[in-house]
């Protein structure tokens, strides 16, 4: 269940970057999720559309790269 909170935090973070960059909306997000991060990529994918609805990341494409290690990283994003 904690993926929902992580997803909300990621969207918050992405929106902060978007504001800083002076963009209007986020069209794609790329995450790196380590196998020891404790985050289940499938759960994050399931939570994302619901968490993103109504935010500036609504309808953004979510790409997840699975890596080894503990990291959970917002690797890059595409904005308009």
């Amino acid at each position: 269940m904690h993926e929902a909170k992580i997803c909300l935090s990621l969207i918050d973070l992405a929106e902060t970057h978007l504001t800083r960059a002076g963009g209007e909306r986020i069209t794609a997000l790329r995450l790196e999720i380590g196998d020891l991060s404790g985050v289940i990529p499938e759960a994050l994918e399931a939570a994302f559309p619901i968490c993103a609805a109504g935010t500036r990341a609504e309808n953004a494409a979510l790409h997840i790269d699975r890596t080894s290690g503990r990291q959970l990283l917002l690797r890059d994003m595409e904005i308009l």
């Binding site: 269940m1 909170k5 909300l8 969207i11 929106e15 399931a46 939570a47 619901i50 109504g54």
Partner: protein
């Protein structure tokens, strides 16, 4: 069977109805396995409150267009949605959708709506205050239905 009653709302006027119903229920006798909680920030917090429950009864003030003080079993789309403050401020609707999507949703979710009147701060409006007892009775009836027992308590 782990049943959780969750009163949702804020302390602002009629929006407090769900919290007050939960507090009234918690003050009375409840069958074993029933836990009453309040949640003033639905969304991610509501997910935490639901976690591990087999069945959940959510009590919340609604603005569905019914007469103020109407107590009813609500459909998910009649519960407050929206995310006014920040992306952490999911509504009840979104929280339920999330629980479902993550496969952690309780097997059974019942929603009790109390239609709000005009009070937006401080005290409840009269029709809403008058409906609290009815809302408590409906929650007790739902618990009885879930546990398969009549309601000898409270």
């Amino acid at each position: 069977m782990r049943i959780r009653v969750i009163g949702v709302g804020t302390r602002q006027g009629d929006d407090a109805a769900g919290l007050l119903v939960a507090e009234a229920l918690a003050a009375g006798a409840l069958p074993p396995g029933v836990v009453v909680r309040t949640c003033e920030r639905p969304g991610a917090d509501l997910l935490d409150e639901m976690e591990g429950a087999d069945a959940v009864v959510i009590v919340d003030a609604t603005r569905s267009g019914r007469a103020p003080g109407t107590v009813f079993r609500a459909a998910p789309e009649e519960m407050a949605g929206g995310r006014s403050l920040s992306s952490h401020a999911l509504g009840v609707r979104e929280a339920l959708a999330l629980a479902e999507a993550l496969g952690h949703g309780p097997a059974r979710v019942e929603m009790v709506g109390i239609e709000a009147g005009g009070a937006t701060r401080d005290d409840l409006s009269d029709p809403v205050r008058a409906s609290l007892a009815e809302a408590c009775a409906l929650v007790r009836a739902l618990i009885g239905e879930m546990t398969g027992a009549a309601a000898p308590w409270g």
